[in-house]
């Protein structure tokens, strides 16, 4: 597990840019499809995945609470 986490962190750090993108250059990044979190329209899809699978979290959303009984 530690190796996989390390690999993810390594990928993240290696891909970090040194040159800042200015506000006026962010037109593509501000596209709604570039959102860096799960989409609101996927709320119920994520809910059923949390119910039907043992794993959850690490997607910028809720990480606990609730039953998940059915």
């Amino acid at each position: 597990m530690i190796k996989k986490i390390g690999l993810l962190l390594l990928i993240g750090s290696l891909t970090t840019s040194c040159v800042a993108v200015k506000e006026y250059e962010k037109v593509y990044l501000n596209d709604p499809d570039m959102l860096l979190s799960a989409k609101k329209s996927n709320k119920f899809v994520t809910s059923f995945q949390v119910y039907r699978e043992a794993a959850s979290g690490a997607n910028g959303g809720k990480s606990g609470g609730g039953c998940g009984c059915n």
């Binding site: 860096l36 119920f44 959850s56 997607n59 609730g66 009984c69």
Partner: protein, 521 residues
């Protein structure tokens, strides 16, 4: 040595929980302090106008591994859910958001909490051989007393035609359906330079056997000309069971463990050979435990850290790391377990006992050995990465990967890709694919494979080893000017999505959802 390790783990868990609670409190205090600052400079509002999101979905699934009936039986379930989210700008810096969800489900698996319906044993006899599961009266409309399948030999004038007490058949009991409601209130405050965002939230959720109360707070800092973002979020959920048990176990305890009393009075119990047992003898059915849920609390403490980085004008990435500690009653008291090393006992039609695990069995039900038992503590460690690339004006690439580990022995990987394709200035097509795989929890075994000597056990296939494939398509309509109106609400977007989900354990599911987004004039 082992005792020392347990003590260390307990101390670590307590420290972790205390830290998360302290973080929540500090974030709340910080939010109050921040919200009292004033600034007369011009600044763009965080949210220009109130927004309303309405999202509805219909979910349907089916499979052959129902957890309420010990890992076999129908998993048929449907769920209709609707969510309303209203975001209101209170001033230039502050936004108040109310999120409310109502979800109504019907579940064949849950219905078999009491597979015997209102008929006691659930078995119905008709003098003339009519075949109808739901009938509890004879052809003339006269109720027929509950009895068991083996008695059909005694009731020479009656013919057993159907039962309904089967893991493969949906019962009509109260647990067949339920409504889940949830409300979340969120308040967020952004600093004047918009480089600091504080938020606090409180939530409440309720269903017939479960209540959840949550509180949380978060801090987001932006650096490097808003190219870098670090977020910290802490939440505490204080949940409470109102436990419901498999009817035979609950009835056995309320009948003072006497098979001639209460629910069991007049009902024949069969052994594996299909013979009626002597309820006063030594070889009789009984659950292995007479102690059920002794702690109604289930608490969750979560700490989330996120890091986002703009890599270029068209590329950005996010890392997410959660640390989640749960304690309390983490098993589901509705879910049965059957042991391999204990004799089997049934109520129903003796001739179907050899076919018990087959969907052709419609009228015999095996009495549970116990409810599932799981440790009262669980530590979850998921880490995820999201990578988005704006390829060109028509196509965007969205990817997500997550690795998950918990101390119940579950390890999982999730990979997801979505490729939004703009087919006009207002319509976007969303094809997506998701692959998921997990190892089994240490405490999982299929139907009749656990041993009664084990401390913890479950036959819930959501904790089994499996992989799944999910394919989705979606279409969205966006009108950035929100020209179409309903009352004072301008329609900004419509989203339609369908996802098909298949697990290699046989579970199949589909979900269709529709979302509307409005902005207030």
């Amino acid at each position: 040595m082992a005792e020392n390790q347990v003590v260390v783990v307990v101390v670590i868990n307590r420290r972790l929980k205390m830290k998360i609670i302290i973080i929540v409190v500090v974030l709340f205090i910080s939010l109050v302090g921040f919200s009292q600052t004033t600034n007369k400079e011009y600044k763009k509002r965080v949210l220009e106008t109130a927004e309303v999101d309405i999202l509805s979905s219909f979910y349907s699934q089916d499979g052959d591994n129902a957890s309420v009936t010990g890992g076999i039986g129908t998993e048929k379930l449907t769920d209709l859910a609707t969510n309303f989210t209203v975001s209101i700008p209170l001033n230039d810096d502050d936004v108040f958001t109310v999120d409310a969800t109502i979800s109504a489900y019907t579940s064949a698996s849950s219905s078999n909490l009491n597979p015997f319906d209102a008929n006691g044993s659930g078995l119905v006899y008709y003098e003339n051989g009519e075949n109808d599961h739901d009938k509890s009266s004879n052809k003339n409309g006269n109720p027929i007393a509950a009895t068991s399948g083996a008695s059909s030999a005694v009731l020479s004038n009656n013919t057993l035609v159907s039962g309904g007490a089967s893991p493969w058949y949906e019962s009509t009991g109260a647990s067949k359906s339920d409504v889940w409601v949830n409300g979340t209130f969120n308040y967020s405050h952004s600093s004047d330079n918009r480089n600091t965002i504080l938020n606090a939230d409180a939530s409440f959720a309720k269903e017939f056997d479960y209540t959840s109360i949550g509180i949380g707070g978060g801090l987001t800092k932006l650096f490097n000309e808003k190219n870098t973002e670090i977020g910290l979020k802490a939440n505490v959920y204080l949940d409470t069971w109102n436990p419901r048990y498999p009817t035979e176990i609950h009835s056995y305890l309320t009948a003072n463990q006497n098979l001639n009393n209460g629910f069991f009075s007049g009902v024949d119990i069969l052994n594996q050979s299909g013979n009626i047992i002597d309820k006063n003898g030594t070889n009789v059915w009984s659950p292995i435990n007479t102690t059920l849920v002794d702690n109604n609390a289930r608490n969750t403490y979560s700490l989330s850290v996120s890091f986002s980085q703009i890599l270029s004008k068209k590329t950005q990435v996010s890392l997410f790391f959660d640390l989640v500690q749960q304690d309390g009653w983490l098993a589901n008291p509705m879910q049965r377990v059957y042991f391999a090393d204990r004799d089997n006992y049934y109520i129903g039609n003796a001739s179907n006992i050899p076919n018990y695990t087959s969907p052709t069995n419609t009228n015999v039900f095996q009495l549970a050995d116990d409810i599932e038992r799981l440790p009262n503590s669980r530590l979850k460690l998921p880490i995820g990465i999201r990578f988005n690339q704006y390829i060109n004006e028509a196509v965007t690439l969205r990817t997500y990967f997550r690795y998950y580990y918990d101390d119940w022995g579950v390890k999982s990987s999730t990979a997801e890709i979505e490729l939004p394709i703009k087919i006009s200035d207002k319509f976007t097509f969303y094809p997506s694919y998701r692959y998921y795989t997990q190892t089994a929890a240490d405490y999982f075994a299929p139907f009749e494979q656990h041993l009664s000597t084990e401390e913890f056990y479950t036959s819930d296939y959501d904790l089994s080893k499996f992989n799944s494939n999910q394919v989705g398509v979606g279409l969205s309509y966006t009108d950035i000017f929100a020209k179409s109106h309903i009352w004072k609400l301008g329609l900004k977007s419509i989203d339609l999505k369908y996802n098909s989900y298949k697990r290699n354990t046989g579970l199949k599911a589909g979900i269709i959802s529709a979302g509307l987004k409005f902005v207030m004039d």
